[in-house]
Amino acid sequence: MPREALTVKGDDMDELLSKDEFRTALEDAIKGREAKNASFSMAWANGELKREHFARWAENHYHYVGPFADYLAYIYAHTPDHATDAKDFLLQNMYEEELSDVRHTDLLIRFAEACGTTRERVMDERNMNAVTRGLQGWCYAVAMREHFAVATAALVVGLESQVPSIYRKQYPPLIEAYGFGEDDVEFFDLHITSDEVHGERGYQIVLDYADTPELQQRSLDLVRAGAEMRFAYTKSLYDTYVAPDLERV
């Protein structure tokens, strides 16, 4: 069967894809929806933002990535014991987010403070916009309700695996165009590389444990949805905080 016929949105698969076919389909499910191409990301990479825009980004981003270990913990709780490698991956990912080094959200707050906002403002959930609230809620719902392979597909493949491509584009201008110091932007530098490995191991879990046509189809649907959620979240930052500034000019 041609690959295109297996991955068209809305089509239900009736046969199991090989791991190579499934991997390609997962990668295709993200294409065209990459957050690196959303308006806020483009403006960031083009050196068009001001520090207050980054401050608003941090005040939103905290509420999306801050609970990432919580999302993973929900997945961990309903991953069966026999899937030891999947459980180990989830636990290690949680450990790295929270304990292995500087807590990742503390690095985000360090960047936020360099942008002129405060830890209190970043942590205050009233400062996120409605789309960020929707993304956070979607992450919790997927983590709590879906099969562990499907949830891993959504959150690790659909969302986390995009991080290196986003931050590799956004990190250089932070130093060169916006004038931040290396300490200020360690959050981005760290995630460029660590999420390469998280993303790859996430793919392996999904390829190994989404082992029925139904689980593969559900994984593809939620990877697509996750990519759309992250794109919408990133676009909304531009619409909410950047576009009004441009209109005033």
Partner: protein, 127 residues
């Protein structure tokens, strides 16, 4: 099509012209058995010696410079921190462990212990 040669495990992996790919991610995906632990540039378990193709590797990142120090000048790189844009060959010791054992120590880092103590223990307990 450029090729990464993981000489120690006998793997050779091609990637598309124009791409630049993470050396450790490619090794994991293709089961090339480069040892690694933290994948964040802290522990140094995934250090590889570059035999050929230095010019096709990304500039060393901050954590890599801090972790490897003088080893960088001797041709070592951290696979997790290195992006490859053309042919290269790397070797390593299959039994190598972390450069900084503290980074892979199962016990919690000092800062975390202090944070947990503040959260869970009374002032008298921590005196």
């Amino acid at each position: 099509m450029p090729t990464i040669r993981y000489v120690t495990s006998g793997c050779a992996v091609d990637f598309a012209d124009g791409d630049d790919v993470n050396m450790l991610r490619v090794a994991i995906r293709n089961e090339c058995h480069v040892p690694y632990r933290c994948a964040s540039g802290n522990c140094g378990t995934d250090r590889v010696h570059v035999e050929d193709g230095h010019e096709n590797l990304s500039a060393p990142r901050r954590r890599e410079r801090e972790r490897l120090g003088d080893l960088l000048d001797d041709g070592w790189r951290l696979a997790c921190q290195t992006y490859v844009s053309g042919d290269c060959s790397v070797t390593w010791d299959p039994d190598q462990t972390a450069l900084d054992e503290r980074a892979t120590d199962r016990s919690l880092p000092d800062a975390v212990n202090e944070r947990l103590a503040r959260r869970w223990l009374s002032a008298e307990d921590t005196d």
